[in-house]
Amino acid sequence: METTAYTPADYKSDQPVRWCPGCGDHAILNSLHKAMATLGVPPHLTAVISGIGCSSRLPYYMNAYGFHTIHGRAAAIATGFKVANPEMTVWQISGDGDGLAIGGNHFIHAVRRNIDINMLLLNNKIYGLTKGQYSPTSDRGFVSKSSPYGTVEDPFIPAELVFGARGNFFARSIDVELQITQEALLAAARHHGASVVEILQNCVIYNNGIHNRITDREYRPDRTIHLVHGEKMVFGKNRDKGLVQDGFLLKAVEIGKDGYTMDDVLVHDAHTPTNFLHQQLAMMDGTDLPLAIGVIRDVDSLTYNDEVERQVADVRAAKGFDSLRDMIMAGETWEVK
C-alpha cells in the first residue's frame, strides 16, 4: 500500500462506535479510515455527510467535518457543500433505504449532475434502524415485519440506477472484503465526478446472512469476480474460470474446456466511455454469472462543480463587476439632484 503523512488513526474521532457487534459497518468504517490515510487528504479538508439510518451514523466516528443530516437528503446536502467549497473532499454515506427510497431522487440527480462526491451505498437490503422492514433492494417475496406475506414488488439494482442516471463511476464490494473495499473507495476518491460505491453489508440483527449465497467463504471465489482494469476477467477458487463474450452477452466458461483458452477471456476496461459492457458486468448477480466486485466503471467526465467554477471565472473575465453597486450602475439609472 502507498503511504502518506497520515495514518488511519488520524481520521478516527473520539466517539464510541455504537453499531451492533458483528455489524458489517465496523469493517466498512475501518476500510474507509485506511482508504483516507492512503489518499492522504488531511482531515480538515475532508467532509463526511450522511442521511439517516444505521450506516448514516458514520460521520460521528470520523475526525473530519462531519454532518449527520436527515433521511434521504445527504446527496443534496453534499452537493451544496461541494459547490460551495470545492476544495474539500466530500464523502457521502447512505444505506439502501436512505439513498434509494426516500432519497432516490437526490441519488439519481447527484449522479446525473456528476458532482464530485464519493457516494457510499451500504446495502443490507433491510431497514435496520426502524427494526426490520423491507427496503427498495429487498428481493421479491422477501418476508419482513412490513411484508409478513412477502413483498410483491421488484427491487432496484443500484448499479442499474447509476447507469440509468448516466453515471461515470460504479464500484462494488463486500463488507468483509477489506482490501477490495479500500481499493474501491480509493478509486472513488480519485475519480473526478460522482462516484458510487455499493458495499454489500450484513445486518446481523434483522437480515443476517442476506448476502451469504455470495459472500460465504465457501462460495465466494466461484460466485464473485474481482474486476481490475487491464486484467483478464478470471475467477474461481482455482482461477480457472473466465468471462467471455457470447454474442451480445457474457458467458462464464472454464478455461481449457469446450475449446476456451485464456485468449478468449475478456480484459476489463473500466475507462471505456461506452457503458454497454459495464452494465452487463454490473448486472451479474452470482447465479449464472459471478457477482462483479471492484471498480466496474471509472470514466472521466466534466464535473458539475468544476463547470460552475469555470463559468464564474469566464463570466467574470468577460464582464465581471467588482461590486454590486458597479453592476447596478452599469444598468439603466437616473439621477435626482
Binding site: 467532509a47 451544496g80 457543500f81 465581471g320 439603466e332
Partner: protein, 618 residues
C-alpha cells in the same frame, strides 16, 4: 428606514403589438381595443405602420405596430408600454425602447433563428443581451404551438402561420383578465363567412390564453411610488430583484460567498433567474431537482461556510420544513425566502396573500423557532433580504423572509445605496486561540446572545460533527439526556428571543398625537395601509399607524407601543394570523381585525371604510 410610499394600482396599462406588416398586428390590436372598450375601459390607440407597403419580410423597415392604452383616465396611447408583443427580431429591435423598465416582452422565439436575426441586423446570437433588455422576456414558441393547434385543421401551412397573431392576442387576454367570449363574439362577426378561419383563429386564441395560464405568466399592474425622492442615483426595481440584490449586498458585507439552492416556483422564480445571472459577481445559484434539494443544498453550502439561501413560495416552504428543522438544531445560518401566493395547495399561484405567516412561525416538527422578517415594499425587499442575511449569520439561525407576489412583482423607483449605508456583517467565527488550544466544542456559545461559533470547513483544527440528533449542551456529542434536551430547547428559543436586542424598535409611523386607535399591518401591505391611515386622518378620524417588518422576534418595545391605544386594528391579507399572534403575546390589548383573502392587495378605500366602521362601533 422605511421611505414614505404609496401604492398605485395602475389605472391604465399600455400594450404594444408588433410584427411584420403581414402578421396581423393591427387586427389583433383593434380587437383587443374593442373588447376592452366593451368591458367599460377607456381606450386610446396608436397604429404605427411601416412607411413602405411591401418592405422585405423580417426587415427593420417592415415592422408594423399597434399600441393601445386601456383603463381609466386614458387620454393618450401612452409613452411606454407595459407589455410588448414582438413577433420577430426586427419588431423587438424597433420597439424595445418603448417598453417600461420591468415590463414584459413576449416574443415568438420560433422566429428568432439565425437568418431572422441577420435580417434585423443583429450581430450576435443573443438579441436580448445585445439590446441590454431590462424587462421580463417571455420566449414563447408561438409558431410551433400554432402549428400544433391547427395540425388537424386541414388548412395549408401559410394559412396556419397567419393565425399566429391570435395566439398573441390570447396570451395578452390572459395577462389582463379579458374574457375570451367577447373576443370570440367579435371574431364570429368578422369571419362569419369563413367558418374554417373562424374556427382556426378561435383555437389559436385559446391556445395562447391557455399557454399564459399554464406558465403562470403575469404582469404586475401595481406600482409603489416613493415620495420625497432623496438626491441620488435611482433605478427601477421590482421586489424579487431587490431581494436578490439585498442578498448580494449581505454577501459583500459579510465576506461569505453567496449560494442559492432553488427550484422554480411561481411567483418566486425571478429571484433564481436574477441570481443565476450574477455569476458576474461570483454568485453560485444552483437549480436543484426539487424544493427539498433546494433547501438541503443550501444547508450543505451553509455548513461549508457560505451565505446560503433558498427561495420558494408557500407550497415549497411546506416541502422545506424538515430541512429548516435541521438548520435549527445544527444552528447554521440559512435564509429562506417565501414569496407568498394564494393557497392552500396550488391555490392561486400568481396572486398575492399573507397566508404563510403561521407556516413560517410554526410549520415544523418539534420546538423549532426561527427568525421571521417581512419587507414592506418592493424596495424594502433589498433592506430586509440584507437583514435576514445579517440575522442568519450573526445569530447562526435560519431566517424566513416573507415577501409576497404583490411586492415581489411590483416595481418602484429605488435609490441605489452606497455600500457604507449598510453595516458590516460579522460572522461569529471560532476565536483563533480556542481553535489552537483545541478547546473548542461545536455548541460553545457567546454568553450574551447565545450564538454558537462557526468553524468553516477547511480550517485546520476546526473539525467537528453536527447533526439532526440532539446534542449535549457542553460537549456537542449526541445526547438523549432528558434534562439536557429541555435545556437545549430553551437555549434555542432564547437565542431567537435575544435577536430582539439587535433589531430596530417599533416606530409609530403616523401619529396625530391624540389617537385612540392604532392601525397596523405587516409585510407587503405597507403602502396601502399607510395611504389609508393618511386618508382616515384627512377625513377627521384620529388614527395612528405602525407597521411590522420584524415578526419573530417582535421589536422589544411592541407591548409598550400597543398598550398606548384603546383599540388596535390589525389589517392583513389572511383570516387574522398576525392578529392572533399578537393577541397571544399581548392578551390585554383589544385587537380588531380587517381581513381580505381574495388573492388581491387591499384597496385603500376598503381599509378606510373598514377602519371607519370599527371606530364608529364603540
Amino acid at each position: 428606514m422605511l421611505e414614505e410610499t404609496s401604492v398605485k394600482t395602475l389605472d391604465k396599462v399600455v400594450i404594444r403589438f408588433s410584427g411584420d406588416s403581414g402578421d396581423g398586428m393591427q387586427l389583433v390590436g383593434n380587437i383587443f381595443t374593442n373588447v376592452s372598450a366593451g368591458l367599460g375601459n377607456e381606450v386610446s390607440t396608436f397604429p404605427d405602420y411601416p412607411a413602405e407597403i411591401r418592405a422585405p419580410q423580417g426587415s427593420l423597415g417592415g415592422v408594423s405596430g399597434f399600441q393601445v392604452s386601456v383603463g381609466t383616465g386614458v387620454h393618450t396611447p401612452g409613452d411606454k408600454c407595459d407589455v410588448l408583443v414582438a413577433m420577430n427580431p426586427a419588431a423587438l429591435k424597433q420597439n424595445v425602447k418603448h417598453v417600461k423598465p420591468g415590463g414584459v416582452i413576449v416574443v415568438d422565439i420560433d422566429s428568432f433563428k439565425e437568418a431572422d436575426l441577420k435580417k434585423a441586423l443583429f450581430t450576435t446570437d443573443n438579441p436580448f443581451a445585445e439590446l441590454g433588455i431590462n424587462a421580463q422576456v417571455l420566449e414563447v414558441p408561438v409558431t410551433s404551438i400554432t402549428k400544433a393547434a391547427l395540425a388537424d385543421s386541414g388548412l395549408d401551412n401559410k394559412s396556419i402561420i397567419k393565425c399566429r397573431n391570435f395566439f398573441a392576442l390570447g396570451l395578452v387576454c390572459w395577462l389582463f383578465d379579458r374574457p375570451l367570449e367577447s373576443v370570440v363574439h367579435f371574431l364570429s362577426k368578422k369571419f362569419a363567412k369563413k367558418p374554417a378561419i373562424l374556427d382556426a383563429n378561435t383555437k389559436v386564441l385559446n391556445a395562447g390564453f391557455n399557454y399564459g395560464h399554464n406558465i403562470h405568466a403575469s404582469v404586475s399592474t401595481y406600482r409603489v411610488e416613493t415620495k420625497e425622492a432623496r438626491p441620488g442615483v435611482y433605478t427601477d426595481i421590482n421586489g424579487n430583484t431587490a431581494t436578490a440584490w439585498g442578498l448580494i449586498m449581505a454577501s459583500e458585507k459579510s465576506g461569505r460567498p453567496l449560494f442559492l439552492g432553488s427550484y422554480p416556483i411561481t411567483p418566486a422564480t425571478d429571484i433564481l433567474h436574477e441570481l443565476a445571472k450574477r455569476k458576474d459577481l461570483g454568485v453560485k445559484a444552483v437549480q436543484m431537482e426539487d424544493e427539498i434539494a433546494g433547501v438541503c443544498s443550501a444547508i450543505g453550502a451553509s455548513f461549508a461556510g457560505d451565505l446560503a439561501v433558498t427561495s420558494t413560495s408557500g407550497p415549497g416552504l411546506a416541502l422545506k420544513s424538515e430541512g429548516i428543522g435541521l438548520a435549527v438544531i445544527a444552528e447554521l445560518p440559512l435564509v429562506i425566502i417565501d414569496v407568498q401566493r394564494g393557497g392552500p395547495s396550488t391555490g392561486l399561484p400568481t396572486k398575492t396573500e399573507q397566508t404563510d405567516l403561521m407556516q413560517a412561525l410554526y410549520g415544523r416538527n418539534g420546538e423549532s423557532p426561527v427568525a421571521v422578517v417581512a419587507p414592506a415594499s418592493p424596495t424594502d425587499c433589498f433592506t430586509m433580504a440584507f437583514e435576514a442575511s445579517r440575522i442568519a449569520i450573526e445569530h447562526m439561525t435560519p431566517v424566513i423572509l416573507l415577501t409576497d407576489a404583490f411586492i415581489g412583482n411590483g416595481s418602484s423607483a429605488w435609490r441605489i445605496p452606497d455600500a457604507d449605508e449598510y453595516p458590516e456583517i460579522k460572522p461569529p467565527y471560532v476565536p483563533a486561540d480556542k481553535l489552537a488550544e483545541g478547546a473548542w466544542r461545536p455548541y460553545d456559545r457567546n454568553a450574551d446572545n447565545l450564538v454558537r461559533y462557526w468553524a468553516i470547513p477547511g480550517t485546520e483544527g476546526g473539525m467537528h460533527r453536527l447533526g439532526g440528533l440532539e446534542k449535549d449542551y457542553a460537549t456537542g456529542a449526541i445526547s438523549t439526556d432528558p434534562v439536557n434536551h429541555e435545556r437545549m430547547v430553551h437555549t434555542r428559543r432564547e437565542k431567537i428571543a435575544r435577536i430582539a436586542n439587535d433589531i430596530p424598535a417599533l416606530e409609530v409611523l403616523y401619529d396625530c398625537g391624540d389617537a385612540d386607535t392604532l392601525l397596523l399591518g405587516w409585510g407587503g401591505t405597507y403602502g396601502h395601509l399607510r395611504t389609508a391611515a393618511q386618508e382616515l386622518n384627512d377625513a377627521g378620524h384620529k388614527v395612528a399607524f405602525t407597521h411590522f417588518r420584524y415578526i419573530n422576534p417582535l421589536p422589544a418595545n411592541t407591548g409598550e407601543v400597543l398598550s398606548k391605544y384603546k383599540k388596535v386594528v390589525v389589517a392583513e391579507l389572511n383570516t387574522g394570523m398576525f392578529a392572533d399572534y399578537l393577541q397571544s403575546r399581548f392578551p390585554e390589548v383589544k385587537i380588531e381585525r380587517v381581513n381580505k383573502i381574495q388573492g388581491q392587495p387591499f384597496l385603500v378605500e376598503e381599509v378606510v371604510s373598514a377602519v371607519t366602521k370599527i371606530m364608529e362601533d364603540k
